[in-house]
């Protein structure tokens, strides 16, 4: 456990350095954004702004200053919002977490159900599920978003076209986000189930006269659960970093749009904090999946 924690810290530290370096090296000068209107861009004014934000300090000095503050719990103030980075994050996290949780519920529920259906029924149902999910993965999220908004938001008026705050608001964005993932999960489920069905213990169970429903639930699905859970975890972790398209399309103010905005305006403190948060969340989710594996699959426990 201690080793895992140390590994996590080292990863975060390395990531922070890479991110800081990358945003430092990105084209464009932060001072143009800090200075506000173009009317203001006199050399004296720019020099004053540069001094205020320590922009002329060497890269390592800037990084060390940021790291020193971060270790003491001070993530700094956003250069764009002038607000504490911590407060900015706290205000936007619920939106993004809510969206990912909602989407995860959808893709896990429907994804596994469709996968099981395809594996158990086979034949035409199987082909229909595979074709449908293949189509779903091939449509980019912003196209799905546009279609959903114009149909359910603008034309039918069932759902709000922008903003967050309630499940109702989050439904269309969550569906958009879940659609691609749903296809992946249903296919992993289908594949894993098909493999399990060929195994000896299932044949034995079937020979002993157990009902097909029990066989599917107790033996096939249970055995297939390992890869499914791993994949669900990975997809969810990936979503935490990938909500930006959906947030933009639906006017949701979450962490994703905060990050893109911060990158575009060279808002170093915010970029750093959001990226680190995303990396940390990714590590956290994948660690949780790792820890959950032995509980699902006794064979893993024995090996461990």
């Amino acid at each position: 456990m201690v080793r895992k924690l140390a590994g996590l810290l080292v990863t975060l530290l390395a990531t922070s350095f890479v991110i800081f370096g990358a945003s430092y090296a990105a084209p464009g000068d932060p001072v143009t954004f800090l200075a506000g209107g173009k009317e203001n861009l006199t050399p004296e004014y720019l020099a004053a702004v540069r001094a205020e934000y320590h922009l002329d300090d060497p890269f390592l000095v800037q990084y060390a200053r940021w790291l020193g503050d971060a270790v003491t719990g001070d993530l700094g103030r956003s250069t764009q919002y002038n607000d504490q980075v911590f407060d900015l994050l706290m205000a936007r996290l619920p939106s993004t977490l809510g969206l990912v949780a909602y989407a995860a519920t959808l893709f896990v529920g429907f994804g596994i159900a469709l996968g099981v259906l395809a594996a158990v029924r086979g034949g035409r149902t199987d082909s229909a599920v595979v074709a449908g999910t293949t189509f779903a993965t091939s449509v980019p999220p912003f196209v799905v978003a546009t279609a959903l908004i114009s149909l359910f938001g603008v034309q039918l008026g069932w759902f709000p076209v922008m903003g967050g705050g309630s499940l109702w608001h989050l439904t269309l964005p969550a569906v958009t986000l879940a659609l691609g993932a749903l296809a992946i999960i249903s296919r992993v489920t289908r594949q894993s189930m098909v493999e399990q069905r060929e195994l000896d213990h299932v044949t034995v169970a079937r020979a002993s006269g157990l009902s097909e429903r029990l066989i599917v639930v107790r033996h096939v699905l249970r055995g297939a659960l390992g890869p499914i859970v791993t994949m669900c975890g990975l997809v969810t972790a990936g979503m935490l970093a990938g909500t930006v398209t959906v947030e933009t399309a639906f006017g949701l103010n979450g962490v994703g749009s905060l990050l893109v905005n911060a990158i575009n305006t060279h808002d170093f403190p915010v970029t750093q904090a959001v990226m680190l948060l995303m990396v940390a969340a990714y590590i956290l989710v994948t660690t949780l999946v790792d820890l959950a594996q032995p509980l699902i699959d006794p064979r893993v426990r024995r090996r461990a």
Binding site: G28, K38, D87, S150, V154, P160, N264
Partner: protein, 535 residues
């Protein structure tokens, strides 16, 4: 990405609406009528949802006076002077300004104005606020370059001494430089002033109610407002922010009641929709080409030739969906807050920037300049308007025997042309939009001064410099207008910048509301006070 989304959104939207209304035919730029105000509101309104392009970064306008920040705070904070919807300026928190001599300005303050905490607006607050605006690195500090000192000279009197006369300062007092803040409140909040969750320090008809960082910002009518002549009909205004597509969808579905648009893209779809109305107002905003002195643009004859050859009407049509008009000077007509006829007459006489190309004249100029073979590099950041302009330049150049190429730079780098000389050294022309916050063209023409940071082509004329100084110190409007018109003539004769199209201010309103001004005063005039229900 954002633009693709917007376009797709518009496409989907028009497809979804179906029928003839969906064919968004570009309006004829020539028939675009500008109004100061939308029709007067008749009844009260409990709440209006108003959309911004972006969440305000801070509500401390001394730190950042961005468009969205100002649009919100125009209702909350008041200035010593106030710009009206017709772009004229009138006394406000200062009931009178006098200039006993050109280097002295005496402000007589109103005695009945109070801040939102109930305390009176005092001369001390005014002095402190002006000194804060003038501070190093503050957004409005450039307005105070000519100011020697600000002092309280009576219970309700503040005297400003100037190093040299500055006729523009009255205008500046109607902008961010004239905002009066409650010193007690600002000092009390320290660095947190202007961030979410904190009170405002102003005296306007609305006050900050709540700012939920990341989701919305609400202002509410201040019922103890000192000026009983102002009767806001709308109780609360909730600001939300969205990109183009979400903005259009919200207005069309009635989820939001209005927005001031800085981009013409989203104005196209609502134009053809019955549920919303779009009104256009005066602006100072103009799309221009900023030349550098790197290559062929150094020659004024080439700049003049290009100006004659570029298709302004075409740019207005395809780059701005017709929601712009060809324009000959670098400042919009919204800047003509005085001597309007004189400015209009002078404008009409200008010949160097025609609506449609005058190729023969242009070709002659190119020949005179020795028909240079070096290609012209024109920059774009990939946005539609800039790309259309860049292509128009390539087309114009080809028709008059020059060659031009487009160079695309990342959007995040585009602003650096103003600060980074090495980046500027890679291009010959930068298309950009410009506006000035003071409705006086002299606020622009100092960009043509020898050594000005925005004078990239290194235009230099001692007479021009003298004229700028004289106009800046001319407190008589007619005399100043005369100098400004001469400056305009010289600036456009040599095409220090090449003016292209004027983009009017646009306000989009849902079917149930009306009242706010359409002109570019949404950044300094309490427009929400005029908003109300339709009769």
């Amino acid at each position: 990405m954002k633009k693709t989304l917007a376009l797709l959104g518009l496409a989907a939207l028009t497809a979804a609406c179906g029928g003839p209304a969906a064919t968004t035919k570009a309006p004829d730029p020539a028939t675009l009528t500008l109004v100061d105000r939308t029709p007067k509101a008749a009844g009260p309104l409990d709440n209006a949802v108003w959309l911004l392009g972006q969440e305000p970064g801070t509500l401390d306008l001394d730190l950042d006076g961005g468009t969205d920040n100002r649009t919100v705070m125009a209702n909350v904070c008041e200035r010593l002077m106030q710009t009206q919807p017709d772009m004229t300026v009138k006394p406000w928190l200062a009931e009178k300004t006098e200039q006993p001599d050109p280097k002295t300005m005496v402000l007589t303050l109103r005695q009945d104005a109070t801040f939102h905490d109930g305390s009176p607006v005092t001369a001390d607050d005014v002095v402190w606020s002006l000194e804060r605006h003038a501070g190093e690195g503050k957004d409005e500090s450039d307005e105070f370059e000519d100011v020697q000192s600000v002092a309280k000279t009576g219970d309700h009197e503040v005297t400003i001494a100037f190093k040299r006369p500055n006729a523009l300062f009255v205008q500046a007092l109607a902008g961010g430089a004239g905002i009066v803040l409650n010193q007690k409140v600002v000092d009390g909040l320290g660095k947190d002033f202007g961030t979410p969750g904190h009170e405002d320090a102003c005296s306007g008809p609305y006050r900050l109610k709540e700012w939920k960082s990341g989701s919305q910002l609400t202002i509410e009518r201040y019922d103890a407002y000192w000026n009983k002549d102002v009767k806001p009909l709308t109780k609360t205004v909730t600001f939300q922010w969205a990109d183009d597509t979400a903005l259009v969808n919200s207005l069309v579905t009635g989820a939001a009641q209005g927005a001031y648009l800085s981009d013409t893209g989203p104005a196209v779809a609502p134009q053809s929709n019955q549920a919303v109305s779009v009104a256009y107002g005066a602006t100072t905003r103009v799309f221009v080409l900023l030349p550098t002195d790197r290559g062929v643009m150094k020659d004024a004859r080439i700049r003049r030739a290009l100006s004659l050859a570029v298709d302004r009407a075409g740019i207005a049509k395809s780059g701005f969906a017709g929601l712009a008009r060809p324009w000959k000077v670098p400042v919009g007509a919204g800047a003509w807050s005085y001597q309007k006829e004189a400015f209009q007459a002078a404008y009409d006489q200008l010949q160097g920037a025609p609506d449609s190309p005058r190729l023969e004249e242009a070709k002659k100029l190119v020949q005179e300049a020795g028909s240079p073979k070096e290609p012209i590099i024109v920059a774009t950041n990939g946005e539609q308007a800039r790309t259309v302009i860049a292509n128009a330049v390539v087309d114009a150049a080809k028709k008059i025997g020059l060659t031009a190429q487009i160079k695309t730079v990342p959007a995040s780098e585009f602003g650096s042309f103003y600060t980074d000389e090495s980046l500027r050294a890679q291009v010959d022309l930068v298309p950009d939009d410009w506006y000035i916050t003071k409705s006086d063209p002299i606020g622009f023409y100092d960009n043509g001064l020898t050594g000005s940071s925005n004078n990239w082509v290194k235009f230099s004329s001692p007479e021009y410099d003298e004229l700028v100084a004289r106009a800046l110190s001319a407190t008589d409007d007619a005399a100043r207008a005369k100098d400004v018109i001469e400056l305009q003539r010289r600036f456009t004769a040599d095409m220090v910048w090449i003016s292209l199209v004027e983009v009017p201010n646009a306000v989009v309103l849902g079917s149930k509301v009306t009242g706010p001004p359409a002109s570019q005063v949404n950044m300094g005039y309490p427009w929400a006070a005029d908003l109300g229900a339709k009769g």
